[in-house]
Amino acid sequence: MPVQIVKEKRNYFDQNFALFVNLLRREGLPVSTTEIFDALQALEWTDITSKSDFKSALRATLVKNRRDHQTFDLLFDHFFLPSGNHENKVRELSGYKKQFEDKLKQANLDLQFKGEPLRLELRELEQYSALTAEQRERLQSFVRKTENGVNVEPQFKPILETIVKSHLRYCRQQEEFTSSGAYSAVGSEAGSGTGKKDLDLCELDIRTIKEADFPAAEQQLQQLSRKLAFKILRRKSYGFRYGKIDLRRSLRDNMCYGGVIFRLKHRPKRRTKQQILLLCDVSASMKRYSTFVIHFLHGLRQIVRELSCFSFSDTLENLTPELKGRVGLNHLLERIVRQSKNWGGGTNLGFALEDLEKRFPDYLNVKTTIVVVSDAKTIKIDQAVREFEMIKDKVKRIIWLNPLPVSHWADFRSIREISGLVEMWPCSTISQLEEVLSGRL
């Protein structure tokens, strides 16, 4: 019996749509199945030959947060290309792929020891390719000199690999530290749309925000603190008697009706107070972040009273009285930056925590949420870990905001050990600060 070949009818739209939704999800947009159905239904009512209508329909149904609009627009414009552009795009991408493969091959040729390529991970080879010609030359020269050194055995290869890896890591950190970020290009042009500029600023690493943009960033922080304060203040819980009739108040209120209870009075919700304790690292590596956190904190303190703040580097300092005095932001910064002994020092987290426990034990109770802002580059790691283990049981929760990117966390022993004890979140932008705190306070 001859084999019957059935040509499969492929539904390209469904496939593309599913791919697009998948892309949105990968970028962190929470697109649910309900929203996919809504989008497909919406398209039935939309003229899908009009790109703007098609885009608007998808945006209204799939994106439910203003901040995600930018991601959506970017993905949409790259995904749904005008007809005819596809081939160009594919050609462009395959060109990139070839270039990338060539670069990796070259990296393997450059970094050889006794005729064998060094065992480096893909991302490390990528980092090597991204170095400047001068930097690459310097590294190659170092490898060659080592290779040709006196009494250098083949067993030396792993040591050389470790040195090269460390050097690449150092270069990457330097690059990230000095880069001014994508905003420098975007920010100046985005002036026409007030909202867009604010959003760009929120997505930018705090360290790279230019001085000219400080007022706008501070404005964003003020808004964020107001929003968060609103949430904290309205925190109420249902007591077991909530909603029941309050007989005493009902009787009192209805005396004017001769004792007939016309107006009922119910028991209100109970307000639960949450105490927040902020531990802010003001050591040299954290200066910029800390300034922004203090801005944020000052705004929050104007509304929320149950807030304590400590700064630490190699010692601990209580900033709560300054905050309670309702001083202006400039005075507060002046006080912290100019007069504090901590500002710009080294980091000794273990000592700071020990000091906190000894001198301020009342601050640590089951209602307290500790928020630590630090990059965890501390000395005496074991002491810090020990202290965290002790404090963890005394308080409600510990949230750690770490400005270092997650990809770097594995490189630091302190982070590896402490992240197992507390909730550690990457937090280098205003958006991340909002996301982490509004979801967890």
């Binding site: 929470p30 649910s32 309900t34 929203e35 809504d38 239904q41 919406a42 009512w45 939309t46 003229d47 009009s50 703007s52 209508d53 608007s56 329909a57 945006r59 209204a60 149904t61 994106v63 439910k64 947060n65 203003r66 609009h69 002036g191 749309g193 007030t194 909202g195 943009d213 007022p215 706008a216 404005q219 003020q222 107001r226 929003k227 609103f230 949430k231 309205r234 109420k236 249902y238 007939v260 209870i261 016309f262 107006r263 009922l264 209100p268 919700k269 509004s438 979801g439």
Partner: protein, 305 residues
């Protein structure tokens, strides 16, 4: 854009609500799919107005539920008219012959309809405006899920009441707190931003009759410039633009100058800090400069066109 959407846009224009095609499409989809429409944006950009205009366009009743902290089902959905029930019992006590049953006391005549129930029971499809939903408690937000997804409510004494006509639901939020994913999932989402200068000129002309073309253009330009000031605590909204334009028309002004702007700035900037910032960082000179620059650009544009 299909004919229905064009028609809807025309009706919105006639009702004095100027917006872009994308906004109209989203509103149209909310109507077509019978989905609630969640509108977010800064205060004064026209979120509440959207609900009002929809009621006008659809020629139907607008039922408004203003959310606030502590709002609960008794204020939003229904409540038994306790006082009336009590009076009925008291009256019955005096008439010894009549026996009162429990069902009599829990019938519809003792039911006080609140906005949600009213919208569900409306004879004609109504527009239900749930205003500032971010101000209500998360518990109430969760309660809204049932109403917004099934359009039915359960009253223990009467049973389940289903919507006679599914209302057009518009929810507005100032984004003072993040709404739950559950609520967002049930809605179509629309973000209203401040309009561009051209759009704002159109809005001024529609909403403030008698405003001179030049004045409308200058007002929109100054407002746009003020919104660029990063340090402002509250950026001027469309509502403030319109108030300002009305005030200037009342004063028989046909064009702006630095002093006039400074004298009437309290209509636009509503906090002392913002007003001081305006005086220190923009001032009458700054405004005069903006207007001079815009006038010369405007004239060039007109020449080109």
């Amino acid at each position: 854009m299909n004919d229905d959407i064009k028609e809807l846009k025309k009706k919105f224009d006639q009702a004095g609500y100027i917006c872009d095609d994308s906004t109209i499409l989203t509103v149209y989809l909310a109507l077509a799919l019978h989905k609630p429409l969640l509108i977010e944006g800064a205060p004064g950009v026209g979120k509440t107005e959207m609900g009002k205009v929809l009621a006008e366009v659809l020629k139907t009743e607008l039922i408004r539920l203003q959310c606030y902290e502590g709002l609960d089902e008794t204020k939003a959905l229904y409540e038994w008219n306790y006082q009336r029930q009590l009076l009925r019992i008291q009256m019955n006590r005096n008439l010894e012959k009549e026996q009162i049953k429990e069902e009599d006391l829990f019938s519809e005549q003792y039911l006080l309809e609140r906005p949600l129930l009213k919208a569900i029971q409306a004879e004609k499809q109504a527009v239900l405006l749930i205003d500032e939903v971010d101000k209500c408690d998360p518990e109430f937000e969760a309660f809204l899920f049932e109403v917004l997804s099934d359009f039915q409510v359960s009253i223990p004494e009467l049973g389940t009441i289903k919507a006679r006509n599914i209302p057009v639901v518009v929810l507005t939020s100032n984004n003072e707190r993040e709404l739950s994913d559950g609520l967002k999932r049930r809605c179509l989402y629309l973000y209203l931003d401040f309009p561009e200068i051209k759009k704002e000129i159109q809005i001024i002309k529609v909403k403030v009759p008698g405003v001179a073309d030049r004045l409308a253009w200058e007002i929109a330009t100054v407002i746009h410039e003020l919104r660029q000031q990063a340090n402002l605590r509250k950026k001027p909204s469309i509502a403030e633009t319109l108030d300002w334009a009305k005030a200037l028309v009342t004063m028989n002004c046909t064009q702006l100058d630095g002093t006039l702007v400074a004298d009437t700035m309290n209509l636009v900037l509503k906090t002392r800090a913002d007003q001081m910032l305006f005086i220190n960082e923009v001032g009458t000179e700054g405004i005069a400069c903006i207007l001079r620059q815009e006038r010369s650009e405007g004239e060039t544009c007109r020449c080109k066109s």
